[in-house]
Symmetry: C2
Subunit: 342 residues, 2 copies
DNA sequence: CTGAAAGCGCTTACAG
DNA sequence: CTGAAAGCGCTTACAG
């Protein structure tokens, strides 16, 4: 009677290896390996027997040994921003979920690392440990240290977001077009004084949204009123200043470039006694849970963030397989017109 | 002139191995290995030379090869809930950041996997691939499939949260005590009709908070008014019903067991024209960014979620190193009394 | 269609 | 204090 066994079906020893399976079947490790991978010529009946045996003992090859043998890790990295002001947005979380889904489908694992604006030491650690085959960046900083580093090290990577560097593989929503369309729709709706409160302009996302805003005004020959446009609003204080000025200059509507800004704006408007949509209208981006329970419901551009992550994961794994098509992938968006702008 | 070299300092070939370093120094791989790990007897001067050489060529040992040789992976897993209603709470995200920090400090990497209430297939995949040494669970479901599975497989794990199973290593805040204290403080403040809106009771967190609420009332000989206590409020509808009933039965204060519930409650109160804190007071848990910009500021129990993740990561890695102390670790909390209850 | 053997890049008894 | 050699669990030319 074997002592170490945990279930009846176990072969002796606690952790099964390919050698155990081979021995059990009386074939070579080569054969077992081939049956599993499907590579090389191998008899149908043999494959069946191997599979049956694997099933019976619930054998699963060691990812790490496979990795060493093939010089791959079957891990992809996801860089998560650790700056405090960003780390609570649900965007990255949902995006990560999407990447996990794509990775799991191709039997890759997802390794998380953190990056800060001026500190990519953790990113370096993970690549220098030779523990990932490629990486996904979830934030599009201009002049980003991370992209520079990865290019120099020649590590395959995908950027969730946009970059002016066309050699970078990108997956993004069309923020410019979405914002342009949103603003156009509002302008068509007999509004003309539309204000903009935008976040950190070093992010391409915010830049693109601003561009969309400007384009929409321009195409209607409306000049940009600098008293209604506020960029780099990433603190409570700067948002408050923006809202005050906007109220003073009697805008009819405020576009916020993300839901965190919008939440604050809504709160400030309430405080100031400005009623939405009666006194002023409000629209936002991203359409996350942040705004979900607001009353009135907030008009917003909706993007499928999980899908974004999923596509990015798929693209990266394709690249690792040798696919070198560097086209930028653009995802769809939806504009949800709701009571806050009516 | 070497062709493949990227920087001047490279040894021939693109990826450095321990053999390259050994050859460069004219010593054996054994020696290099020992100099790096510090294990075994080795000359001081030798160590210095090896380190210098490593530095010069920026050599970093392959984590994967080390893993195969030592039968460890130096990866820890973090199970992330993928159920839609939970996936947007910042809790898990911040917790993950904490785990990453702890892991990086011990040169471990963090691998993310998703779990759903009735689907732990991704968790299984990651452990059966032999790709992690241990795992962190970030949610304390009662009768959790994940804990059952890990125990049966004998995989070391740490639970961020609480369990009645004392063989499980746990890291948590003292939700019961925190809630009891919060309610006591409010009761002392000449309130007596305090309502409770709690989330999914299959989570120990919510159960503990309810217990705290009940204890606080009991110790003041106040009987529980079932018209003021609502559990399993995880949908918009159930929260709405709760709020309506609470307003009808003239509670003086509402305790929400988390910030997502609280956000909705605040929104519903506004809709109903109930003024906070004039008509009714409100307090919450977790104190996340969700409530940050609310006006009035909301009284809440604050917990250091990142620290929670960090401690959990540390504990797990200690366990992997052979430490088998299974004490439950309890973190501190803070009660922030703010205008919403004044 | 199948197998013996070398190799992926480390660690670690064992022997000096 | 140092090294030669075996081994971790796979994959894959190469030879049959």
């Amino acid at each position: 009677m074997a002592v170490q066994n945990k279930d009846e079906n176990s072969l002796p020893g606690s952790k099964l290896t390919i050698a155990d399976i081979a021995a059990e079947l009386g074939v070579s490790k080569t054969t077992v390996s081939r049956a599993i991978s499907g590579k090389g010529r191998i008899g149908k009946e043999t494959v069946r027997r191997v599979m049956e045996c694997i099933e019976k003992y619930n054998y699963r090859p060691s990812a790490i040994a496979k990795g060493l043998a093939t010089s791959k890790t079957y891990n992809i990295g996801v860089a998560f921003p650790a700056d405090t002001n960003l780390s609570s947005t649900p965007f990255f979380q949902i995006c990560l979920l999407g990447v996990c889904e794509a990775a799991a489908a191709m039997d890759y694992d997802v390794l998380v690392t953190t990056v800060k604006e001026n500190d990519i030491s953790q990113l370096k650690r993970i690549v220098e440990n030779h523990n990932i085959d490629g990486i996904i960046l979830t934030r599009d900083f201009m002049n980003d240290m991370a992209t520079e580093y990865l290019k120099q090290k020649d590590i395959p990577f995908v950027l969730v977001g946009s970059s002016e560097d066309s050699t970078i593989v990108q997956v993004d929503s069309n923020h410019r077009e979405a914002c342009e369309k949103l603003v156009s729709l509002l302008l068509a709706d007999k509004m003309s004084r539309i204000a903009l409160i935008a976040g950190d302009m070093r992010h391409m996302v915010n830049l693109s949204r601003c561009e969309g805003y400007i384009n929409a005004l321009r195409s209607r020959q409306i000049s940009i009123d600098t008293e209604l446009v506020f960029t780099d609003c990433d603190s409570q204080v700067s948002i408050e200043q923006a809202v005050n000025s906007i109220l003073k200059h009697q805008a009819e509507c405020i576009i916020c470039t993300d839901d965190v800004i919008c939440t604050r704006v809504l709160s400030l408007l309430r405080e100031a006694g400005a009623h939405v949509p009666g006194d002023i209208k409000v629209a936002s981006f991203h359409d996350s849970i942040y705004l979900e329970s607001n009353n009135p419901p907030v008009t917003a551009v909706g993007m499928d963030v999980k899908e974004l992550g999923c596509i990015a994961g798929k693209r990266l794994i394709e690249m690792l397989g040798g696919d070198i098509d560097i086209h930028k992938k653009i995802l769809d968006y939806e504009i949800h017109l709701r009571r806050s702008t009516q």
